[in-house]
Subunit: 228 residues, 2 copies
DNA sequence: TCCCGACAGATTGTTCAACAATCCGACGAT
DNA sequence: ATCGTCGGATTGTTGAACAATCTGTCGGGA
C-alpha cells in the first residue's frame, strides 16, 4: 500500500494483468516467426528439432512447444513422425485467406469506427505515401499491412485483431515470391487513399465496396503470381 | 498392395493426406476439450500439470503440449509460473465473441452458397425441431450449433470453419450458466427457420439481416445472464 | 492489533537423457 | 527395373532432475 489504497480485489486484477515475461518457448516461437516473416525460412523448408534446439541454445522439448504455437497459427505444418515444415500455401489456400480477409475487413469497415481509430487508418495511408516517396519498398509493404490492420482495429475486437494478425502472417509467407516485383505494393496506394477518404467522409458502406473490389483484385494478382 | 496399384506419386500424395494418427498430446487435448464442453471443468478451475498427467497416465511434458494447444484456442489461459486455468469470459469478451460471429456468419450468409450447402443448413433446422419435439434440450443445443456451423460452411472456407469452431468452443464454456433455463435454445427455433427460409428463397441479404438481429438479441441475453 | 519479512511447501519452467516408433535412403537380390 | 531389407536419422514420449517462482503460514515488531 505505497500509494492510494487498492484493496485486495484490485490487487488480484493487477496480478492478472501483470506483464507476462515471455517464456523461452515464446521467445523461440517469436524468433522463428521473425525468420518466417523475413523470408529466411521459405515455404516447404524442414525444421529439424535438434538443429533449432542447438542453434538457439534451448532444449528440444522447448522447441517442441514453440512448434505447437506456430502450428496453431498455421505458419508451420506438422507431419507426424516426419517433422514440421514451413507452411506452403496451395492456390486454394490463397483464395481461402482472402475469404477470411473479405469477411473480417469488410465487416470492420462497415462498422465505421471512432474518429480516433479512423485517424489511425489515415496515418497508415500517409505512412505508405511517405514510403513511396522515399522509394522504400520494404516500408511500403509494412505500411500496407498497417493499413489493413488499422481497418480491422476499427471495431476494437481483440479476437478480430488476432485473426487478422495471423492471416497477415500467413500471407507474408508467400508474399516473398510476389515482391520480386519491386513496385508491387505501389499500385495499392490509390486504393488505400480512396478507401480511407470514403471512411472519413462518413460513408463506410462505400468504403467497404471499394475494399471488396480491392481484395478481389489483390487475390487475382496473387493467384497469378503464384502460378495458377 | 492389397488393392489396385496406386503408383509412387499417388502414394506420396496419399502419404501427405494420410490420416494423421492423433498423437498422445492431441488425445489429451481432445479429452480436456470434451470435459470443458461438458461443463465438467468450469471456468476459473485450475489445471495442475502433475494431476492431469497422473489421471490420464501420460507424462507431464505431454500434458504441457496439450495445454499449448488449448491455450492457442483460448480455452485455457496460462499465467506464468502459476499454472493454467479454464478460461473465463469477462462481459467484454462476450461482446467480442459476438463481434467475431457477426463478421463471420453474416459474411457467410451473404454469399448464398451452393444448394447442397443450403440443404445442410435446412437439415440443422429440422434437427432442432426434432429435438424440440422430443424435449431433448441437450440435442437442441447441439442442433443450434450445427445450424450456425452450417451457415459458415456455406462459403466452404477451411479457415472460416475453424474460426467458427473455436468461437463456438469458447461459447460452450460459459453457456452452461445460461442453460439452467431449460428452454433457453427453444426461443431460437423460429429464428433459425426464418433465416433458413430466406436463404432458400434466394434472398441471402434478408437472411443476413435476420441473423444480425438474432445475434444482437442473443448477445443481450447472454450478457444479462452473465450478470452485467 | 495489524503489518511485514522470512521460511517451507508446492508448482511451474526448462533441461537432459533415454528409448520405442517411424521414416528415409541405400544397398543388394531377383 | 522392381522389390525387400537393413541401417541411420528423426520424431514421439517418458521420467527424472533442478532452478525459479508463487502461496500461505508463522512470528516479530510497530
Amino acid at each position: 500500500m505505497t500509494t492510494s489504497d487498492a484493496g485486495p480485489r484490485a490487487l488480484a486484477a493487477a496480478a492478472r494483468l501483470r506483464i507476462a515475461v515471455p517464456s523461452v518457448a515464446d521467445r523461440v516461437a517469436a524468433e522463428l516467426r521473425q525468420q518466417l516473416a523475413d523470408g529466411v525460412l521459405l515455404p516447404g523448408t524442414r525444421l529439424t528439432e535438434s538443429t533449432i534446439a542447438e542453434d538457439l541454445g534451448v532444449s528440444r522439448n522447448t522447441v517442441r512447444e514453440a512448434f505447437a504455437e506456430l502450428a496453431a497459427e498455421r505458419l508451420v505444418v506438422r507431419q507426424p513422425n516426419r517433422g514440421v515444415f514451413v507452411a506452403s500455401l496451395a492456390p486454394g489456400d490463397i483464395h481461402d485467406v482472402y475469404t477470411v480477409r473479405r469477411a473480417v475487413e469488410v465487416a470492420a469497415l462497415r462498422g465505421g469506427g471512432t474518429p480516433e481509430r479512423v485517424a489511425a487508418v489515415r496515418a497508415a495511408v500517409e505512412e505508405g505515401k511517405a514510403a513511396a516517396a522515399a522509394d522504400d519498398e520494404e516500408a511500403l509493404g509494412t505500411a500496407n499491412q498497417h493499413f489493413h490492420r488499422a481497418i480491422v482495429a476499427l471495431v476494437g475486437s481483440r479476437r478480430l485483431d488476432t485473426i487478422m494478425s495471423q492471416v497477415l502472417a500467413e500471407m507474408r509467407l508467400f508474399f516473398h515470391k510476389a515482391t520480386v516485383d519491386a513496385h508491387f505494393y505501389r499500385s495499392y496506394l490509390d486504393d488505400n487513399e480512396q478507401i480511407c477518404a470514403a471512411l472519413e467522409a462518413g460513408e463506410p458502406d462505400r468504403a467497404a465496396e471499394l475494399l471488396l473490389a480491392y481484395l478481389d483484385r489483390s487475390e487475382q494478382k496473387q493467384s497469378a503470381v503464384h502460378g495458377e
